[in-house]
């Protein structure tokens, strides 16, 4: 350790240098890291990204997924990502903006994906979450349901489930709930 200052001298210097120093916009560690994630994004052709708040605010963005196979083929699903200042210490908050009939996404847009909560780990990235979301559409999991009814139908009668998904994406009713058209 060294002697950091003779206080009087330091104050004088600080007053002098403060005049010439331009204010610098501070960037949080979370922003720095998400910059890395975004600059290395490798999006499949079924996926796109947009930045509603411009190119210099990467903490909030939207991911649009258009599955090209599986139950949800042809649908368009938008997810909002909210990234905290201490990312990647905390997982991004991800919500589905599109109302969807899905065993692992509830009608309020909460998403049950392990890496968004209990299995989040700082070595994961925005890319990993996008893969996870894509996977949810390819292989909905009836054993970990957030939409109980949808899960039950998928388990008991996959053909019926398929019909329900089609009907919901076309803008119809399933089980008394209306789903906006997303095809």
């Amino acid at each position: 350790m060294i002697k950091l200052f003779s206080v009087k001298q330091k104050q004088k210097e600080a007053a002098e240098s403060a005049n010439g120093r331009a204010p610098v916009k501070k960037q949080s560690p979370g922003e720095l890291r998400v910059q890395k994630d975004i600059s290395e994004l490798n999006l499949a052709k079924t996926t796109s990204i947009s930045f509603p708040n411009g190119k210099d605010n990467l903490l909030n963005f939207e991911i649009t997924i258009r599955p090209d196979e599986g139950y949800y083929q042809g649908g368009t699903f938008v997810f909002t990502f909210q990234i905290s200042q201490v990312y990647p210490h905390e997982a991004p908050k991800v919500k589905c903006k599109t109302k969807v009939y899905h065993p692992n996404i509830d009608l309020e847009g909460n998403v049950c994906l392990n890496i968004l909560r209990e299995d989040w780990n700082p070595v994961l990235s925005v890319n990993s979450i996008i893969y996870g979301l894509q996977y949810l559409f390819l292989d909905p999991n009836p054993d970990d349901p957030l939409n109980h009814e949808a899960a039950e139908v998928l388990r008991e009668n996959p053909r019926q489930f398929e019909n329900n998904v089609r009907r919901s994406m076309a803008g119809g009713y399933v089980g008394g709930n209306h789903f906006p058209r997303c095809i």
Partner: protein, 459 residues
């Protein structure tokens, strides 16, 4: 002397006892033992004498961030230690549940800003100390506010706030081209933290000891439950509470934002969670557990705060005066098993994205961003480490390789000179590349030989 004894504070001592200590003989006796005598345990450059005491009394300005459990202790300790110019910043108001340990506050203060009352109380009790309160968020102050202080002491309860203030304070740090920190740009921080019976105190000298970000990864992740477990197979009272908090609120109270400080909201969560618990034959949902789970509260222990704050105040004194060598980086206290404390020295992350010097790269100020990227690609120090770099300056993305939408938007910058993009004095650029594990910090130094006339003389 009159005894000021309110009905809400029958235990209150007579404040006058301490108030007149300015003139009491021996007020500085203990401090003088440390400051007036040379010794073998002193820090480098220690100057024993009355001037040092006057210095902390009159010239040294200390900012305390947080006026809660730790903040009250810190303000009291620093004021009694002899620091004469204190400021305190806190965004909270006093709640009745604070009174058991935040001893500067009384029942009649409930609802008042913590910073304001804490400042008043300390000035009432300790004569000759000036405490300036700031009732606002730390984000409301610009960096010049923080730059006024010689030492910043943190009594915070969140990683976010620590991380934020760490980035601000490390932002003052500048390095010489040889990578050594410029001493006048170093602003030391002393960080205290408590959680129940556990606590820590650490000294952060940016550029010399690890900053908060260097060891961020040591913090354990927050406990979260899988949403589907909450929805389908709740097994504990916490599961029931989290279900109502995270899922049922959105279903039943659509459009209302949940506010953990609104008692009606909290009561609703508690009642619904109790119902859910009954459905699943789970016992143990209480109002205080609901608060604990939702607000992530761990009961605060007054003695932990006192021990940690005392350590922080002492380290602040050491940094300010060098009357003793400072603590080597980090102290941990575990009050559950006796009074075990240990200190250890963790290391700086040489590539820390907040406090490291960055790799110096010297170029002309007129170099375009594209040419600069070419320079980096040719630089042997980065060989095989970068192939398609993205470049950003503080909050601004100068060039992004992906996704295409950002690449297109930032492409025009490639033809702009660095001087235009980052100002005439150079600075730190962040480089991202798939081949890099982390973020590469590059310190851009403009060659001084060829400075154009219009930027010369800026000094």
């Amino acid at each position: 002397m009159k005894k000021r004894k309110g009905e809400d504070e029958p235990w209150a001592p007579e404040p006058e006892v301490m108030a007149e200590t300015t003139d009491i003989e021996g007020r500085w006796r203990d401090l003088d033992r440390l400051l007036l005598r040379p010794g073998i345990l002193v820090g480098p450059g220690f100057e024993p004498g009355i001037d040092t005491r006057d210095m902390i009394r009159n010239d040294c300005r200390v900012l305390v961030i947080g006026a809660g459990g730790l903040g009250c202790e810190l303000l009291k300790d620093l004021a009694l230690t002899g620091f004469g110019n204190l400021e305190v910043i806190d965004m909270d108001t006093i709640d009745v549940s604070n009174l058991n340990r935040q001893f500067l506050f009384r029942m009649r203060d409930v609802g008042q800003p913590k910073a304001k009352i804490a400042a008043e109380r300390v000035m009432e009790r300790v004569k000759g100390v000036n405490v300036v309160p700031h009732y606002c968020r730390i984000e409301d102050k610009d960096s010049s506010f923080f730059d006024q202080f010689q030492i910043i002491v943190l009594g915070l309860d969140s990683l976010e706030a620590r991380s934020y203030i760490n980035a601000v304070v490390c932002g003052f740090l500048e390095y010489e081209p040889d990578g050594s920190p410029i001493l006048t740009t170093i602003k030391p921080m002393v960080d205290g933290g408590t959680e129940g019976f556990k606590g820590h105190a650490r000294v952060i000298i940016p550029g010399m000891t690890p900053c908060f970000q260097c060891s961020m990864w040591l913090f354990p992740p927050q406990v979260t439950f899988p949403l589907c477990t909450l929805a389908e197979t709740p097994r504990s009272p916490a599961h029931c509470i989290e279900f109502v908090h995270l899922i049922q609120w959105g279903q039943d109270r659509t459009g209302e934002t949940f506010d953990p400080d609104n008692p009606e909201h909290m009561k609703w969560i508690y009642e619904q969670a109790a119902k859910r618990a009954e459905q699943y034959s789970i016992s143990g949902v209480t109002y205080s557990l609901t608060q604990g789970v939702v607000k992530n509260i761990i009961p605060a222990i007054a003695s932990t705060n006192a021990i940690v704050a005392a350590t922080c105040a002492l380290e602040t004194l050491k940094i300010a005066t060098m009357c003793s060598k400072g603590m080597e980086v980090f102290m941990q206290y575990t009050g559950t098993d006796g009074v075990y404390m240990r200190t250890f020295q963790n290391e700086k992350d040489p590539n820390c994205i907040v406090c490291s010097a960055g790799v110096p790269v010297e170029v002309e100020a007129t170099t375009t961003l594209q040419k600069f990227i070419d320079v980096l690609l040719k630089d042997s120090r980065f060989k095989n480490k970068i192939s398609k770099p993205s470049v950003s300056l503080q909050g601004e993305n100068l060039y992004m390789q992906a996704p295409p939408i950002l690449e297109e938007e930032t492409r025009p910058n490639l033809l702009r000179p660095l001087r235009t993009l980052m100002g005439g004095e150079g600075g730190i650029l962040n480089i991202n590349d798939k081949r890099l594990k982390g973020i590469l910090r590059v310190q851009v130094i403009f060659k001084t030989t060829d400075v154009d006339m219009d930027t010369a003389g800026g000094g």
